[in-house]
C-alpha cells in the first residue's frame, strides 16, 4: 500500500460512510412502505464512487445510472432535498417528479437515468461542452458491466476516443445484470474491447477505495490537460442487495420457504408436461436455474464490502472512524426525524 495522508483516508471514509448510512436509512424507509416502486442501491459501490469523486473539481459533470444515490450524496447535494426526493415529496430535489432513479442537479452537473447504458452518451456530451468552452473540466460516466453490451455505450466509447474528449468511463462490475450473469452473455474480454477503441483501460479492485483513488489520481490530471483523451476503469464490486431491494434470486436465500413454495409447483408442472422439449433438455434447464439461484448467494457475502475492507486495512484509525460514524448517524437520524415530521404533519406525501 502506498502512503496516503491520514486526512485523505478519513475524508474517503466519511464519504463512503455517509452514503452507506443514507442508503441503509433508505432501505428501512422502503421496507416500512414509505417509498413506492423499485429501489436500486449503490451499497457495495462506495469505494468506486468515493475514489473517483475525491479527484473531481467544481464544473466536472457526472452521469450516473439507476444507482444515483451514492454519487449524489458524495458530491454534496443537500441531503434533506435528496431524501425528500427519494420519498417522492413535492419539496424534494426534483419536486417529487424523479425519485431515486431520475435524480438531477443542474448546479452540480449531476444526472441519472434508468435506461441502461445511457450514462455513456450523457457524459460524452458534458465532456464535449467542457472542451468546446476550453475549460479543464472532465465528465464521468458510471455504469454497470451489463451496459457494456448496449450499443449506445459502445458508440460513446468510440465517440469519446475519436473526438478526444475527457470522459472517465467507470464500469462498476459485479457480474450480474439483474438475474443474468454477465459473463454468460458477453463475448470476449471487456478491457480488450475498450482498448480496441484506442482508449487506455485498466481493471482494478473496486472494493478497495485506496486502489480506486490511486488509479484515477494519475489518470484524471492527464485528462484535464490539452490532450483530452478518455480513460476507462473496470472496478469489481458486489451488491449485497442484488439488483434491487426484494431481488427475486436473493429471496430464495432470505425467505426460502415462501419462495420455493411459490415457484416449485408451476416449475415441476412445466417440467412434467406431456408436450415440450426432450426430457434431458428440460432437466438441464431446471438444473441451470437452480445453479443460478445457488450462485446468487455469493452476492450476500461481506468479503468485498468496501467499508469493512477499509476499516480492516486501517485499524489504527479505528477511533476516528467511530467518531465519524456516530456523527453521521446522528446527523442523518435527525434529518430523517425532521423529514418524517414534515410528512406526518402534511398527512400524505
Amino acid at each position: 500500500m502506498i502512503f496516503m495522508k491520514e486526512r485523505t483516508l478519513l475524508k474517503l471514509y466519511e464519504l463512503m460512510y455517509r452514503s452507506r448510512f443514507m442508503e441503509e436509512t433508505i432501505t428501512r424507509l422502503w421496507n416500512d412502505g414509505h417509498i413506492y416502486g423499485e429501489m436500486h442501491l449503490g451499497i457495495g459501490e462506495e469505494a468506486i464512487i468515493a475514489g473517483v469523486l475525491s479527484h473531481l473539481i467544481p464544473g466536472d459533470a457526472i452521469a450516473t445510472d439507476h444507482r444515483g444515490t451514492p454519487p449524489f450524496v458524495m458530491r454534496g447535494v443537500d441531503l434533506e432535498a435528496l431524501l425528500l426526493e427519494i420519498l417522492g415529496h413535492p419539496k424534494g430535489l426534483c419536486l417529487g417528479m424523479g425519485g431515486h432513479m431520475h435524480l438531477f442537479s443542474q448546479e452540480l452537473l449531476l444526472t441519472s437515468s434508468g435506461i441502461v447504458g445511457s450514462s455513456g452518451p450523457s457524459a460524452v456530451g458534458f465532456a464535449l461542452a467542457a472542451k468546446y468552452r476550453k475549460t479543464n473540466n472532465i465528465a464521468v460516466a458510471f455504469f454497470g458491466e451489463g451496459s457494456m453490451n448496449q450499443g449506445m455505450l459502445l458508440e460513446s466509447l468510440n465517440l469519446a476516443a475519436a473526438m478526444s474528449l475527457p470522459v472517465l468511463f467507470v464500469c462498476k462490475d459485479n457480474n450480474w445484470a439483474i438475474t443474468t450473469q454477465s459473463s454468460e452473455v458477453t463475448g470476449g474480454v471487456l478491457l480488450d474491447r475498450v482498448r480496441g477503441f484506442g482508449i487506455e483501460a485498466r481493471e482494478i479492485d473496486g472494493s478497495d477505495v485506496t486502489t480506486v483513488w490511486q488509479a484515477v489520481e494519475t489518470a484524471i490530471p492527464r485528462m484535464r490537460k490539452s490532450t483530452k483523451s478518455p480513460y476507462f476503469i473496470q472496478a469489481n464490486c458486489t451488491h449485497n442487495e442484488g439488483h434491487f431491494l426484494g431481488d427475486p434470486l436473493l429471496r430464495f436465500h432470505r425467505a426460502p420457504r415462501k419462495e420455493f413454495g411459490a415457484v416449485t409447483g408451476p416449475l415441476m408442472k412445466s417440467v412434467l408436461q406431456y408436450k415440450g422439449g426432450r426430457i434431458d433438455k428440460r432437466i438441464r434447464s431446471v438444473t441451470k436455474v437452480l445453479s443460478l439461484i445457488a450462485k446468487s448467494r455469493m452476492q450476500l457475502s461481506d468479503s468485498k464490502d468496501p467499508l469493512l475492507r477499509f476499516e480492516k486495512d486501517n485499524r489504527d484509525l479505528e477511533d476516528q472512524f467511530t467518531q465519524i460514524k456516530s456523527s453521521i448517524q446522528s446527523e442523518t437520524n435527525l434529518l430523517v426525524e425532521r423529514i418524517m415530521g414534515i410528512i406526518q404533519e402534511e398527512g400524505v406525501l
Binding site: H102, I115, S270, R282
Partner: protein
C-alpha cells in the same frame, strides 16, 4: 371454463402455442427467470436469454421472422423500446411494403407497460399510440385474462409484426418485481376483473382489430383499453345513478383500430370520451376524434382523459396524471344531456 390470473393466462397461451408450433421461440433479457416455467418445459433453444442489447436482439428478431421462424421478442418495459426503435420503425414495419408484399415479418414484440405503482416516468409509459403511428405494425393491449391469452394467439398467428403490451397493474409478477418488491405494506389500485377471471379451456385467436363492447348504453360512449377500461366501468356505474347510460368499448387493438365499432356506438350516443393512459397529444384520442369527425355527420360531444405530462414519481401526482375515475366523471358531467 377455468379461472386464471392475467400473467398465468399469457403463460398458458404461450405453452399451448409453443407446443403446437416448434418455430415459436422467445428471445429477451432475463428470460431464464422471467419465463422459467417455459424454459423448464421447452428447453433453452426456445427460451433464449440475451445480453442488454435491445437494438441487436430486436433487430435479429425481425430477420429471424423473415427467415420463417416465429420469434417472440421481449422488451422488458415498453419504455426501453426507445433503445431499439430502429428495428421496428425502419425494418419490421417496412420489409413487407419494400418487398412489394412478398416478404412478411411474423414477429411478436412483447413488453410490459403502464403505471400506477410509483416507478417514475422512464418505467411507466404506455407508448401504444406512438408505436401504432407507424404503418405496418399492429399494437394490442389486453385488459383481462381471457383476452390476454386469446389475443396473444392472434398476435402469434399474424403474418406481420404485432406489439403485445401487458399492463403491469394486471400482471402480478411485474408488480411484484417493480412495485412491491415482495413487501406487503404497499398497495395499488389493481382492477380485480382485469387481474383475474374466467378463461377458455383452449385458447382461441380473436380476429385482429376487433373491439369488444363491454357494456351497452345510449347516452355516452367511453372508448378505452388496458387498465383504463376498468376505470371506465367504475365511472359508468356511478353515472347510472345520475341517469346517464354509458356504453363502454374495450378497443383491445390500438392498431388496426375498430372504426366501425366506434362509429356505430357514437352514431347512437352522440357523446364520446376517450380514456387513454397514453399521452394526450398526437395520439389515440386525437385519432378517434378525427375518425368520428370524418364519419359522423350529426353533432357530437367529445372529451378525453389521458396522460398529459411526464409521469411523476410522487404517487398522488401520478394518480392524478394517469386517467382515474374522478377525471372521467368530470368530463362526463360536463357534457349536456337532454
Amino acid at each position: 371454463m377455468r379461472t386464471m390470473e392475467f400473467a398465468e393466462a399469457i403463460e398458458s397461451a404461450l405453452k399451448q402455442a409453443m407446443s403446437e408450433n416448434p418455430d415459436i421461440f422467445l428471445l429477451g433479457e432475463d428470460l431464464h427467470t422471467l419465463r422459467v416455467n417455459l424454459l423448464a418445459q421447452f428447453g433453452k433453444e426456445r427460451v433464449q436469454s440475451t445480453p442488454i442489447s435491445e437494438s441487436a436482439f430486436l433487430g435479429a428478431g425481425v430477420s429471424a421472422a423473415m427467415a420463417g421462424l416465429r420469434p417472440i421478442v421481449e422488451i422488458m418495459l415498453v419504455d426501453f423500446i426507445g433503445v431499439a426503435a430502429d428495428a421496428l420503425l425502419n425494418h419490421a414495419a417496412k420489409v413487407h411494403a419494400f418487398s412489394g408484399g412478398k416478404w412478411s415479418v411474423p414477429l411478436v414484440v412483447r413488453a410490459s407497460c403502464g403505471g400506477g405503482y410509483g416507478d417514475g416516468g422512464q418505467h411507466e409509459q404506455s407508448l401504444w399510440g406512438w408505436l401504432a403511428h407507424i404503418p405496418g405494425i399492429n399494437v394490442v393491449v389486453p385488459s383481462n385474462p381471457a383476452d390476454a391469452g386469446n389475443l396473444l394467439l392472434s398476435a402469434i398467428e399474424a403474418d406481420h409484426p404485432v406489439i403485445y403490451l401487458e399492463h403491469k397493474l394486471l400482471a402480478d409478477y411485474w408488480l411484484d418485481y417493480m412495485g412491491t418488491g415482495g413487501r406487503e405494506n404497499v398497495t395499488f389500485d389493481i382492477p380485480e376483473a382485469g387481474a383475474k377471471g374466467e378463461v377458455p379451456n383452449k385458447w382461441q385467436p380473436l380476429p385482429i382489430g376487433e373491439a369488444k363492447i363491454l357494456r351497452e348504453g345510449s347516452d355516452l360512449t367511453m372508448i378505452s383499453l388496458g387498465v383504463s377500461v376498468h376505470r371506465c366501468i367504475e365511472a359508468a356505474a356511478i353515472l347510472t345513478n345520475e341517469d346517464i347510460s354509458t356504453e363502454i368499448i374495450d378497443l383491445r387493438w390500438v392498431s388496426p383500430l375498430d372504426t366501425s365499432c366506434i362509429i356505430n356506438s357514437v352514431s347512437k350516443t352522440h357523446r364520446v370520451i376517450v380514456v387513454d393512459e397514453d399521452y394526450l397529444r398526437f395520439g389515440l384520442s386525437g385519432e378517434i376524434a378525427a375518425i368520428v369527425a370524418e364519419e359522423i355527420n350529426s353533432k357530437f360531444q367529445f372529451g378525453r382523459v389521458c396522460t398529459d405530462f411526464t409521469i411523476p414519481f410522487n404517487r398522488n401526482l401520478e394518480d392524478n396524471i394517469l386517467p382515474n375515475v374522478n377525471r372521467i366523471l368530470d368530463v362526463a358531467r360536463a357534457f349536456t344531456y337532454e
